[in-house]
Symmetry: D2
Subunit: 347 residues, 4 copies
């Protein structure tokens, strides 16, 4: 059960506490509101109607919401109209898909600036690039680290693009937060609860990738870890799941997009590059993602994919990316896109 | 290796045979052509250039195609422009998605006719309905059998819709072929090789559903089982695969659609009803499928889903189906749809 | 709900029918008993205590068993002490694991007789060998067919080994039944309901392999398809399931063995050859299977695995098979093996 | 390629470096040896025989080992006889399986001491218990933290059992290392590369659980992350993988045990509690694991499973645990156990 308060004084909150004796409560900032939430798992039917009415009528209480799912702050019931995450002026979650594009890894100044110019020109609003890379082998290229962050900053200055880059550990949080507009949490870290709690404590947009073997519920609970620390500026990213499939490294699970929009108010974007692992499948999957309601895309682009230090086979060349952007714009113009989003909200 | 011949006389074929001594060959009708193919697995590099040239220059030989994949007649190399399956005038595989809709099971006359009228009105060209149902439990409703086929025939007469229905066993082949325009082979029978060979022997369009745990290669080889018996009028249908997922019974694998179109000339449609198991996800997945190049859709529609004898939760009400059709038409009008198909063909 | 009757006259059965008006009943032979079972899915709580008592007291009724699972005849509640399938004198399901061994395919007379002698010498009781092979590609070796069955018959005559071989289609049922002691239904045919019903109609031991993507419930329901036609001489075989794994083609799911023994009275054996796809893993998995309660093993053996026409990499050489048999015998001598089986029965 | 050195002086190491100009090398302590290893992915065939001989003959070089797999220090080729990890006197990886048992979470003093006494009495050598719990929901019980570590320490004092407990983040490393004998890295953190590198820097036995969707290669590379920092006291733990299965939360992948022992010298144990999620399946899987070569077991035991704060359904009661220990001892006495281990080493 969540109690949504606005402009609540200290006395107002104590009043609510009084009406829930014995409960372990927590107060979480949520935009212009504050949410009081019980810390332990509570099933909805434990709260009688009487109690709910009592709480509804308390001062400064805007709404009492009973939610039977384990994820509370992430639940669409809290915000039926959906959330829009504002990334320094660029909106993710409004009616236009936001596109984040760039190389898998920041390799060198020329590669990054060249790619940044190209994606900017094609209409992307956010530049992606890894400075700290999660590699399966300790002997593989691990990324340029802080040098990579500096290059991203330079590209930002030159192009006006916002930046999204991955944070791998708590230790580097403040450094990365200094340079980036969006902190990306990778698939392999979706269950790194310490890391999630850590970025929940700062005010910086977060993009949380789905674990490659995580059901939607676990994914939303991972977002809950972030939001329950006070940071509600969370976006989700579907990037393919592990299946028996031999044709692609992962399988793009597009049905999770309308499913998540039905259950949660958070924006959800799609990564067709990791999700397919093959450049020939990226544009079809990008179109499909936008057609079923994705709020944006995360796409790998490289001027010379054959020379990429990582993920070359799934990177698009700049001209193909430009074509993808044109097609996405067309798809988005279809009237019925809004209907889908509104429909999902009303389920 | 395939040798494509046209208007070949008996002597022409003997000539080819002479140039491939010791090989086990087979002659397969393929539309206006005949294909000579080696019966055992042969790897491409075993055929020298000299031999290929020798064969190319033989009389009535139109083309010699070396294919390294195990599937030959299914391979796009045989027909780069793609195939269109003609279902008594309705085309599957041309530039307009063909929609097949109707109830999961044929339950009774009223239910079927009511649904047929509704889907016809909304623009579907083909009616689906199961007379023989594959049920996990021997105690579940197994379908109306021949009575169901008669009802489908009646609906066809009244609406002009073509019919697609599932064939479960060899024993019923001729009966079902008499009543239906398309023979559907279900997911659980994708590896029923006897059944595949049996329908390969008649001249009737076939729709082959992907096995729920089958890689694309096995799926194409299943189509190869049908085509190698002489029936080249084959369509494929993606209907979701088995994954760890808890949210939906199967996971819609949309990336298999552009992947199959890259590897094979056969038309491929999508079944978002079984693929998601939830009616709220059907329209988003239908849009996504068309956006990434599907040649058609197979959708479950029921006038009163709550009363359906099978698959109620995934069936669309007629009004929702009508809305889906409208949105699909819009999506299809986008120019770039043709580009995608041509692009896939040229990979 | 099942009503177990013994030595029931026609009037006795009519009496039961009278006490269940409006129900669709079916009478199924089950060894020395007859089971009356409702044909449609019935949930247990629909049968009141009064009704159960009424039925229990009817003449010739030995027991009334309410079963909430969808599988009834397969349920252990019907036969808590477990079943033993008698294969012409060889018992499967008693306290000694039954071993079935031989080549994947029957290739020629020498290969088969040589292997038969070797496995016989090492202590196997049943010879396996495929005459009709399920091949993913229509161009692969499909087996020797009837010639293969004759060779199996010859090996039987010379060694005294019983025979198990796969039946692929209804058409060949009587032919195969003539030559074999056990009819094997392969993984790809676990959901071939026509085939299951067909072998349910004859009196011949059946070994039903688990579908590679089938949950245990579906597997038991497939056995139910066979048994509900009257053939209760059914054994199950775990042979690996499809997972994301890259190291082995399938993943041996040994936990399904104690799980099945908890839910069903049928004997269950393990196939570590297909289950691992690698000869080095066969003996460890064979040991593990016996250690957790398997009633037997199905193992591929070939005198020269490198020359095998199918599944060479997973075949054991005769000397390795002999060593496996020694280790299995040792494991089986441990007292506690009986405890496990009895324990599982009492859950 | 690895160069194994013993008693090497600074000049000896410079000499090796001279013979590998332009390579990025790293020197890693490994017990009584030092291993020089190239930091970037190198494929074996890049090192000519001449170079290998040159290096073999350099002073203090004991052996030059070319390894084609990406994992080097983990590879069995480095230590064909296998490794034994010494946990303050308790050996893991020798011929007797080491058993680690205890509650999922440390809940309170009485629960922990009661369980510790019970498992000690039954023959376990190591006590498990979680002080920091990885919970899918931020609202679930997260563990007693340092208080839990103190209780574990107390149990150790009273019973003499060694301790294994999970470390969730880098921040708590030194605290946990102070209290525990073995640091456990959970399945969800197998790809937390920062955490792996961090524990690689201290001299403390590590138990690395397999990621629930990780192929064996990724698991060994995770171990490589730890070992390449200098800590070679690593054990592996198979705990079930994610599959389509509905019967158990995870599927125990026992074939990974002989597979890992074939590829790596590290000890590998099995966790049948998480691997099955059901207490009735724990003993059968424990027996199976030991039968196929596991070096030990990790088992959840709770005096009153119904009251457990986490994982109750999979916990064994003390009396069942005692019975499991008896059966494991019997299994282990079989002579052939040594053969299996030696055989795996010689593949």
């Amino acid at each position: 059960m969540l109690i949504k308060m606005k402009n609540a004084t200290r006395e107002d909150k104590l009043e609510v506490r009084k009406r829930l004796p014995g409960e372990e409560l927590e107060i979480i900032p949520f935009g212009q509101h504050e949410i009081i939430i019980a810390k332990l798992d509570r099933k909805r039917d434990e709260y009688s109607r009487d109690l709910q009415e009592q709480l509804s009528s308390a001062p400064a209480v805007e709404e009492v919401i009973t939610i039977s799912e384990p994820y509370q702050l992430t639940s669409r019931k809290l915000k039926p109209e959906g959330s829009v995450v504002d990334v320094d002026g660029v909106k993710v979650g409004d009616e236009t898909p936001a596109v984040m594009a760039g190389p898998c890894s920041v390799e060198n100044r020329e590669q990054l600036l060249q790619t940044a110019e190209a994606v900017k020109k094609a209409g992307a609003e956010i530049l992606r690039g890894g400075a700290f890379k999660p590699r399966t082998s300790p002997y593989s290229f691990q990324g340029l680290g802080e040098k990579g962050l500096e290059l991203l900053q330079l590209a930002r200055k030159k192009t006006g693009l916002k930046i999204v880059t991955e944070l791998m550990d708590v230790e580097h949080r403040d450094l990365v937060a200094e340079y980036t507009d969006i902190i990306q949490i990778g698939s392999r870290n979706m269950k790194n609860y310490s890391l999630l709690k850590s970025i929940g404590k700062i005010d910086k947009p977060v993009m949380l990738k789905r674990g490659m073997a995580s059901p939607v519920k676990d994914w939303l609970l991972a977002a809950e870890y972030v939001m329950s620390q006070g940071n509600h500026r969370v976006m989700l990213c579907e990037r393919g799941i592990k299946t028996f499939g031999e044709d692609t490294r992962y399988t793009m699970d597009l049905s999770s997009i309308p499913l998540v929009k039905e259950k949660s108010h958070l924006p959800v974007i799609a990564d067709p590059s990791h999700g397919t692992g093959r450049w020939e499948l990226v544009i079809p999957m990008a179109r499909a993602a936008v057609a079923c309601g994705a709020d944006g895309l995360l796409v790998e682009v490289h001027p010379e994919p054959k020379k990429a230090l990582s993920d070359g086979p799934q990177s698009l060349k700049p001209e193909k990316f430009a074509r993808m952007m044109k097609e996405i714009r067309q798809l988005n113009e279809l009237d019925k896109m809004d209907d889908i989003l509104r429909e999902a909200a009303s389920f």
